[in-house]
């Protein structure tokens, strides 16, 4: 993570003039430069800010390069009458894209796949038994899609939950790795994602060292899996620290 804890958060502005098409990967093409000039194992600078929405119980805004996401958390509030009695709380997640989030104008509709992935990534971290009979709504909106959208949404959502004061075992940090040819590229941008041969997304609770969600696509051999998981766990650890700093800053700021 490039954003140093404590220093003023630096946002990263994408260099729009420099849109070179990445050469199609050859097997041993190791001197290839990533579109934004990062190293293969270098994440984009992360920027988090809590309290982005006033009316929500908690909210957070995250910016990773050109990926911009806003998440609001409402509740816990009474579950709908139609729902059956439940002695644990419910978590309702929704991820949607704005119409202008993607390079081609989209429908701006809900993203069912991401919604269920977000739910699965978070439910293990939230102490649902602390708010029985009630529902917590997590609404995520992708303002700009710049690659690795889902991991950013997940990290941002866990920060928003913390901001809302929902009891959690730990923050959830998420990182994805793309496999391009023989190289593993962490935190891929949109361009890299469209060329990827495989991808891995790992969400974990850094202090508990527990994986809450893990997905693979594409063909992976065992050494690659080991390497990619280690990369992700390391990055999650660092990302967790950045998120923690953001929460601490928000808390100390409100006290003054």
């Amino acid at each position: 993570m490039a954003a140093k804890p404590g220093s003023a958060p630096v946002t990263y502005s994408p260099n729009l003039g420099q849109k070179t098409r990445p050469p199609i990967f050859k097997d041993n093409d190791l001197d290839w430069v990533r579109p934004d000039g990062r190293g293969f194992h270098q994440c984009r600078p992360a920027f988090f800010r809590t309290g982005a929405v006033n009316s929500a119980s908690g909210s957070a805004y995250a910016e990773f390069g050109s990926t911009k996401v806003i998440v609001s958390v409402f509740g816990p509030r009474e579950s709908k009458k139609a729902m059956m009695y439940s002695d644990t709380g419910r978590l309702n997640c929704n991820v949607s894209y704005t119409t202008f989030a993607t390079p081609v104008r989209g429908q701006g509709s809900d993203h069912k796949e991401f919604s269920s992935m977000l739910h699965k990534a978070l439910e293990g971290a939230i102490m649902l038994e602390t708010f029985p009979k009630t529902t917590v709504d997590v609404f995520a909106l992708v303002l700009e899609s710049g690659g690795s959208d889902l991991p950013v949404v997940i990290s941002c959502a866990s920060l928003a939950l913390a901001d809302a004061g929902i009891m959690m075992y730990d923050l959830v940090a998420a990182v994805s790795v793309s496999c391009l040819g023989k190289n593993l590229v962490i935190d891929p941008v949109l361009e890299e994602e469209s060329y990827q041969d495989g991808s891995l997304m790992l969400t974990c609770m850094p202090s508990r060292y527990e994986v809450t969600q893990l997905t693979f696509t594409g063909e992976w051999s065992t050494p690659d899996i080991n390497e990619a998981m280690q990369l992700c766990l390391d990055a999650c650890n660092k990302l967790g620290k950045v998120m923690r700093t953001c929460l601490k800053e928000a808390a100390s700021g409100s006290q003054e």
């Binding site: 269920s116 990827q196 041969d197 994986v211 893990l214 997905t215 594409g218 063909e219």
Partner: protein, 287 residues
């Protein structure tokens, strides 16, 4: 939901801990698998797979379509799963929708590989008739008839069997087609092309109950799970996809251990499935 008494829950958990499950299986034994192919004559290929009381049908339909502008050298493949209310009353109306989407997404991830098509069980370039103009759109539909756990593994097996059963009609393209027009095609109704299905992975779902994990969980055992990891493995022993279900977190080392167990189990499953598919094909030809 499965309603179980406290005693029954203990019985299931205790059995798993002692490596003897309620139906007499060991932790890493599958239920007997039955494959029937060609069950739906209207489809280009179909198969029914039974795994204990879990019963699923997969059908493959192909239609001529246009490849997307971004990937002119690839055909389109779509996987949909439908959970019929005949399987369980909770699938009625929109109740099955969530499970259907989850299964479709998991199958898509496990069988079709990454965006560039690497690691895909079905080679999308083999579906192209004329590059950038005509290709086959492959619609793979899964139907859950009866559900007794481990739907994902059964569906993946059914899809593999259905694809081995699939014959895509041979297409002749009229030679005089000009460059910007949609070329005329002639679909042969006698000659069919078969897919190479040897690369299609199988999915092994490891369900964690207590401190142990089991394969091929029944729905009663699934109700006791803390988390489940579905791993798709191909014949080469490579992992082609992985999804996790269930909220409880897992230690990274356990996941790596699960992957190696899945690889080991998948070898037997692939061999078993291949021989079942071959037997099913043979009996279909006889009749």
């Amino acid at each position: 939901m499965v309603g179980l008494s406290v005693g029954e829950k203990h019985f299931i958990q205790g059995g798993i801990a002692q490596d003897l499950r309620s139906d007499g299986r060991k932790r890493l034994t599958y239920r007997p698998i039955y494959v029937e192919t060609g069950v739906i004559p209207q489809a280009h290929g179909s198969a029914r797979v039974r795994l204990g009381a879990t019963d699923v049908i997969a059908s493959v339909k192909a239609e001529l379509g246009k490849p997307s502008a971004l990937q002119p050298d690839k055909g389109n493949i779509a996987i949909y799963v439908d959970c019929s209310p005949t399987a369980a009353p909770m699938f009625e109306g929109r109740g099955g929708e969530e499970l259907s989407t989850e299964l479709s997404v998991a199958l898509h991830r496990c069988l079709l590989g990454g965006k560039s098509g690497a690691g895909a069980g079905i080679d999308p370039t083999s579906l192209v008739v004329v590059e950038g103009k005509v290709c086959w759109d492959l619609y793979i539909d899964g139907l859950v008839i009866s559900s007794d756990g481990n739907l994902l593994d059964a569906l993946a097996a059914a899809i593999k069997a259905a694809l081995s059963n699939t014959g895509i009609p041979k297409v002749d393209v009229a030679a005089d087609a000009t460059s910007d027009e949609q070329p005329e095609v002639n679909i042969s109704d006698e000659e069919f092309l078969q897919f190479d299905t040897s690369g299609i992975p199988v999915i092994v779902t490891l369900t964690k109950v207590g401190r142990h994990y089991i394969v091929d969980a029944t729905s009663e055992e699934e109700s006791q799970m803390s988390s489940a990891v579905s791993i798709s493995v191909n014949r080469k022993g490579h992992i082609c996809g992985l999804t996790k279900r269930g909220g409880v977190g897992l230690d990274p080392s356990i996941i790596l251990d699960m992957i190696s167990v899945a690889k080991h189990v998948s070898e037997q499953l692939i061999n078993k499935l291949d021989s079942e598919i071959a037997a099913a094909e043979a009996s279909e030809e006889e009749s």
